[in-house]
């Protein structure tokens, strides 16, 4: 480690404790993928470190990178919380992970297509019928539909976590309207401003291809191939927490950003947008609205976000919607338990990536054990996201556990229990020091005609010491993610 005249970062006082640290190994040496970074950081004085962090925060405010939180009856745009120290991953480990993610999404898409058609997996006794029948996200309106390429989930954000021993697990697959990819892209562009020298010295896989890959995937879904298809991004509007991302992706793809009221379904079952040139045919909708709000004729009658007749048009093959309505059936923490089996059943392969061992509260043989061990477990509702409505056992109070015991017993189908994973840590700027903080990783996987996985993804970091909750709505931050090698 090089030394300068200033006092430099002292790695000997950096202690990730029980957790696996993504930068430093157990003996205090940097892992191979992190060597350059650790050396560079080591040469910075605490003041320089602080200055670079402030420069990054300033850039975020000036560029207007925000997310929206709903608080005290008002929507507030908050600056995106970002930590300058990147999270590093080795290239060969990443290649395995990437193969595992593709394998998983292929199996999930075969599963979704199967449950809306013949339900072979149920008939063959490999997936319990009652789970399907009790699924809130199985949409009868989608039975028999055939999206282009028979792919339902075109965009997937899978959450990966690394446990104490270094094993990477898939924690969940977000198949409805996964968000965060714009922050992954912005994080990279800020890091290039903050640590330009590091990009020159080593090979870090670029992530900037994503908008082009997304656009190509969407174009591949068009019901009118050959033409120059009209692709739009459908947003619930400016009050949505991810509006920044909707507008960002629309701009980067050169697609129109539309709201439900901009679209109308004609007598010919085609979808049109109201434009100053007149009604203009739309071929592909990248929807950032939950499926059940898409069409008030079929789903939520009160929905003002949707477009009457949209599902009719989609079923008639006049418009493509990504992700396809009905995809949410596989975004369920009970269905998640069966993904390794789906891989074996549909692909005849062994899963490359492991699931976190997960118990169904609906299983009467296991439920009493779960209720007795709440203090050691994480309990999650099957259908929520954003870290809402979950219990992290070791960090809960006796009263919270008592409440959860009650709500689980009331509706066991809606809950799953998992052991606590001690998420891996990454050095994070806290005041002027580097301290370990827990992280997860959300790569984004695309499937249309072909597949694409973002190199790395969005690393989310729990900024509070010891905390395992990384969601931005719950005080989490984010980091750039480098696949190095």
């Amino acid at each position: 480690m090089s030394k300068t005249k200033n006092i430099t970062i002292d790695w000997s006082s950096y202690d990730p404790g029980q957790a696996y640290d993504d930068m430093m190994d157990g003996s205090g040496r940097p892992r191979p993928a992190a060597c350059e970074l650790a050396a560079q950081l080591g040469a910075l004085s605490p003041k320089e470190l602080r200055d670079r962090q402030l420069a990054a925060e300033q850039a975020i405010v000036e560029t207007g990178i925000t997310f929206t939180v709903y608080s005290e009856g008002q929507n507030i745009d908050r600056a995106w919380p970002f930590d300058i120290v990147p999270r590093t991953l080795g290239r060969s480990e990443w290649e395995t992970t990437e193969a595992g993610l593709k394998q998983r999404l292929r199996a999930l898409n075969l599963f979704i297509d199967d449950v809306y058609h013949d339900q072979k997996i149920v008939k063959d006794g490999r997936f319990p019928r009652e789970i399907l029948e009790s699924s809130k996200n199985f949409l009868p309106a989608c039975v028999g539909a055939t999206p282009t390429h028979r792919v339902w989930a075109n965009i997937c954000g899978s959450d990966l976590v690394r446990d104490k021993d270094g094993t990477i697990y898939v924690l969940e697959d977000n198949l409805r309207v996964p968000s965060g990819v714009s922050y992954m892209l912005e994080n990279r562009s800020i890091t290039k401003q903050v640590f330009p020298e590091l990009f020159a010295r080593q090979s870090i896989m670029p992530v900037d291809d994503y908008p082009a890959e997304l656009f190509n995937m969407l174009v591949s879904l068009s019901p009118r191939p050959g033409d120059d298809p009209e692709v739009v991004v459908l947003t619930p509007g400016i009050y949505n927490s991810a509006y920044f991302e909707h507008s960002y992706l629309a701009r980067r793809m050169g697609a129109e950003l539309v709201e439900g009221r901009d679209l109308v379904v004609g007598d010919d079952d085609c979808v049109y947008m109201r434009a100053i040139e007149g009604l203009t045919r739309v071929d592909v909708i990248y929807s950032r609205i939950n499926a059940t709000f898409l069409d008030p004729e079929v789903f939520e009658k009160e929905s003002l976000l949707g477009v009457p007749g949209l599902i009719r048009s989609w079923r008639a093959g006049k418009v493509a919607i990504a992700n396809a309505p009905g995809t949410g059936v596989a975004d369920d923490k009970v269905v998640y338990i069966f993904v390794p089996d789906m891989i074996r059943y549909y692909l005849d392969e062994e899963p490359i990536l492991a699931n976190v061992p997960t118990h169904q509260c609906a299983n009467p043989e296991i439920l009493p054990w779960i209720l007795d061990h709440l203090e050691e477990l994480v309990v999650k509702p099957a259908n929520e996201s954003g870290g809402y409505g979950m219990l992290v056992g070791p960090q809960s109070t006796a009263q919270e556990r008592a409440e959860f015991r009650h709500i689980i017993q009331k509706n066991p189908r809606n809950y799953v229990a998992q052991p606590v994973i001690t998420l891996s840590t990454v050095p994070t700027v806290i005041d002027r020091e580097l301290e370990p903080r827990h992280v997860d990783l959300r790569p984004f996987i695309l499937q249309g005609e072909s597949m694409y996985v973002t190199p790395g993804g969005l690393t989310r970091v729990a900024l509070r010491r010891g905390s395992l909750v990384v969601n931005s709505s719950q005080g989490g931050g984010s980091k750039d993610t480098w696949v190095v090698g």
Binding site: S247, V258, D262, G266, R274, A275, I276, E277, G278, L279
Partner: protein
Amino acid sequence: MLSRVAERVYWMSRYLERVENAARLVAVYSELLLDLPEDARLDWSVALEILGMGDAWQRTGGTESELGFLLTSKNHNASVLASLSFARENARTTRDIVPSEAWRTINELHMYAVKNLPSMVQRPSSPVPAEIVGRCHKITGILDGTMSHGPAYRFIRLGRSLERADMSSRIVDVAAAILLAGRDEIHLHDSTIWRAVLRALSAYQMYRQYVRRRILGPDVLEFILHDADFPRSIMHCVQVLEESLHKLPRSEKALNQVSALEDRLKGIDLQAVDHQVVHQFVDELQLDFASLHGVIFKTWLNPMSAA
């Protein structure tokens, strides 16, 4: 370009123009009240008439002062503060389209108005209206100087010109109505009132420069209605409308409306009319403006049928 986006920039621009005109009107009007003797019986109700808020104020039963209603009422969407909130909301929801400097300036103007308009209710002859007018000019300048003069900008110009023409016609109308009321005391102040009309339209200096005569009612009307070069004259606004419409797709119907409007304007000889005729003429103009807005709305802002 999406119709919804066109609609938002159109309304943003209309509301900003309205704010600017209302602020100028309040400044001029508060001076006019000082210039006229008490027996002329002018009060703020006339200003409310000009802004089309008279009936709404009557319905409040006098719970708010007239000026307070005009400036800050939350119960009427035409008050200065409400108009500004709408302008801001429309700008906020089109931040991808509107230059960010313009958005910032609109946002700052809104904050300024929230803070300062309430005090103006007590003291109308304060520097606040001039500040508001100045900031509106700044916004117009930013849009003109930094925004591509493409479709979105054309809708900004349409909104601005239509609102401006409408406001100019209202001011002329009310001046005519005051004089038409025919009370002798008022007639002694004819030229004071016509001067106020010019100043409410920032037209005084240009009028002196181009008309070069003492202020006479027919000349003022001629200038405000027919002068093609003065940017707040109705004729000029109509020509800007025509220019902007020409470059939009499917504009035949709107262009027909505009040319009918132009014919009507040219068809009146203002040297030979009395106030009653002016009043009727302005009524007809206002209907023309409303139907032009209707055509713009149906053609671009809310199209219901395929091209």
